[in-house]
């Protein structure tokens, strides 16, 4: 039994419990990949094949695993520092490829492992330990970013609403193509947002996730900075060819053996 090192009240417990429930229901072969951060300890607490990768590099590692094991569901756990900061290019390109992996971002909007610095989604003026006078930067809206990058499943969840979060996770994993679940995981110690989220969070109702324009509008309702209502649920879903579908779509005109023979003849 591995001792759990998260603080009491940590939002990661909600994600862990939901993932446990979802994985115990699925019959698929699953491989988990984590980045570096408090979130990454989740793979220590699940008895599932997993790869504890490098800070920022969980997504490309997962893409490699997916290419080598196409029949496997590959789920990435990543922090906001990982996916929206140090490794943001990988998020954009994985979404652009629409590669069939799922990324669950534990978006606590603070670097918790290094004890409380601002991240790409910390609000403007955030007084963290690297920005004691307040962050001078406006947070980025990751949902908008990956919609424009080409992701085909985009959701935001609040792990405190466990049943809702579980259903989002399950759908994301089952979705064919690149899926992202931005999770409002609260860091109880360095950026306690429970009161705010409990007050502002509401479940999307009557929203058509196939409507890209409507999705964009909903994503823009809360910009990770304002005190607007915070929608959770599935913002966008599209059925588009994945990287695997698009990879060499046309069958070669000659057999592999004949192709090699042609190359060898050209050397003579």
């Amino acid at each position: 039994m591995i001792r759990n090192d998260w603080c009491p009240g940590c939002g990661n417990f909600g994600i862990l419990n939901s993932v446990k429930a979802v994985l115990s229901e699925t019959k698929d072969e699953v491989i988990l990949v984590a980045g570096i951060g408090q979130h990454a300890k989740i793979v220590d607490y699940l008895n599932v094949p997993s790869f504890y990768s490098l800070h920022g590099r969980a997504i490309p590692a997962a893409e490699g695993i997916k290419l080598a094991k196409p029949g496997t569901k590959v789920i990435v756990f990543s922090g906001d520092g990982d996916a929206y900061g140090e490794g943001i290019e990988h998020l954009i390109f994985a979404a652009k490829r629409n590669i069939d992996i799922t990324v669950v971002v534990h978006n606590n909007r603070v670097y918790a492992l290094t004890t409380g610095q601002f991240t790409p989604t910390s609000p403007y003026g955030f007084k963290g330990r690297s920005t004691p006078a307040g962050s001078p930067e406006i947070p980025l809206n990751p949902l908008e970013l990956i919609l424009s990058s080409g992701a085909t499943f985009i959701a935001r969840g609040y792990p405190v609403k466990a049943d809702h979060f579980k259903s989002l996770l399950l759908e994301a994993i089952q979705h064919k193509g690149f899926s992202l679940v931005d999770s409002l995981q609260v860091c109880f110690t360095f950026f306690n947002q429970y009161d705010l989220y409990n007050q502002k969070v509401y479940e999307l109702q009557g929203h058509d996730p196939a409507d890209r324009e409507a999705a964009l509008k909903k994503m823009r309702e809360w910009d990770y900075n304002s005190d607007a209502p915070i929608a959770i649920g599935k913002f966008y879903q599209a059925d588009k060819p994945t990287f695997e579908d698009r990879f060499r779509p046309d069958k070669p005109k000659v057999s592999r053996e004949e192709g090699i023979a042609q190359v060898l003849r050209s050397y003579i």
Partner: protein, 386 residues
């Protein structure tokens, strides 16, 4: 001079405050996070005039440092381990462009497996990137070295980036008695930054980082090689002047009970503090033990080391990183090359990987084994389970 109780990270931040660099760009990483975090508080409190940016990665941090330094600004950063590794791509560019960037580097083992504790694999991984590398035994030296590093790096004979290292947690997080200079005397010692060129000079436009192929690349590397050689004299001058002003002189290395030693170790970093205790205990028993504590790894003072060790018949070099089946660890290969054609028996101990503790008894055992150095393997691994 005031005497304070400070950790290695705290005194490095304190040195940064006194240096008051124009630009600092950094990204958090254990165990170096505090250096820049404490400095960020100085920025917030208006105690420095620095423009400070907490960027999105170490790769960006070093790139921002390079950009800022091309304007002629005085630039500093801090990092560790994987953060340093992520900077690797940019480090040789900083030296090739002759940008005297100063880095507070807290030694930590490279992944994997992931580990946050001290070894020297991160710093040794970039030993051939044209950066000066200065090691510290304790918080006092960390502070003194950062202050001296600015003057050394910015000297017109050098103009090369410089990293001052401490040992992760052992120095970075341990509180010690440290003598800190008055702000004014520290600033006087460091001096004003003078830059021979700047991208901001519209009257003398320059392009920095232009393509340089088979025609001139080699010629443009030679001044860097020469500056690294010339840095030795500058380091000696800076260390001597530091001693004259503040009573703590510095050289390439320190000789501890070495002059009549029959058995000596060569080591760098915090381990030297432990080694002093072992040597004192052995001396009490009449065993002539000694140490050469290396401060400077780049440039490597080979001739001076060979001279300092010339009368010692049995030498053990302690390496806190491995080179994976090269001819020993990085310090050993350098020292042994420096000692080529000398008569000493010289062996290597790789120890302390991933923060594995090293204690007085282990160092005494190294001295004991030096007594039968002829029968020992060339490379030994100390303190690891079989």
């Amino acid at each position: 001079m005031v005497t304070l109780a400070k950790t290695g990270n705290e005194v490095m931040a304190e040195a940064m405050r006194q240096i008051d660099p124009d630009v600092v760009a950094a990204y958090p990483i254990t165990p170096a996070t505090e250096v820049v975090m404490i400095f960020a508080q100085f920025v917030a409190d208006g105690l420095v005039g620095t423009e400070y940016i907490p960027v999105e990665s170490e790769h960006s941090a070093m790139s921002a440092c390079v950009g800022a330094a091309t304007t002629g600004a005085r630039v500093m950063t801090g990092t560790s381990s994987q953060g340093l590794a992520l900077m690797y791509e940019i480090l040789p560019i900083a030296s090739a462009l002759r940008l005297p960037i100063i880095m507070c580097e807290v030694n930590r083992a490279l992944s994997g497996p992931i580990n946050i504790h001290c070894d020297h694999s991160d710093t040794m991984g970039c030993r051939d990137f044209g950066w000066l590398q200065i090691f510290s035994e304790n918080a006092q030296e960390a502070y003194d070295n950062v202050i001296q590093a600015v003057r050394i790096a910015e000297d017109p004979r050098v103009m090369l980036p410089t990293m001052v290292t401490t040992d992760g947690f052992i120095i970075s997080h341990c509180m010690e008695k440290v003598e800190v200079l008055e702000d004014k005397v520290a600033k006087d010692y460091v001096g004003e930054k003078k830059s021979p060129y700047s991208v901001l000079d519209v009257d003398k436009p320059v392009t920095i980082g232009a393509l340089d192929l088979t025609d001139y690349y080699f010629e443009h590397k030679m001044p860097v090689i020469q500056a690294m050689k010339d840095a030795r004299q500058v380091i000696l001058e800076a260390g001597k002047d530091f001693g004259k002003r503040f009573g703590r002189p510095y050289g390439f290395f320190e000789k501890y009970k070495l002059d009549d030693a029959e058995f000596a170790i060569v080591a760098l970093g915090s381990t030297c503090g432990t080694a002093r205790v072992a040597i004192d205990e052995l001396r009490e028993k009449g065993i002539k033990a000694g140490m050469l504590k290396l401060r400077l790894f780049r440039p490597f003072p080979a001739e001076e080391i060979a001279e300092a060790l010339s009368q010692v018949p049995n030498i053990a070099v302690l390496d806190r990183s491995d080179s994976f089946n090269a001819q020993g660890g990085p310090v050993f290969t350098e020292v042994r090359s420096a000692m080529y054609n000398r008569n000493a028996k010289i062996i290597n101990y790789v120890y302390g990987l991933g923060g594995r503790d090293i204690n007085v008894a282990q160092i005494k055992e190294v001295f004991c084994q030096l007594g039968r150095a002829d029968k020992m393997p060339m490379v030994n691994y100390l303190g690891v389970r079989e």
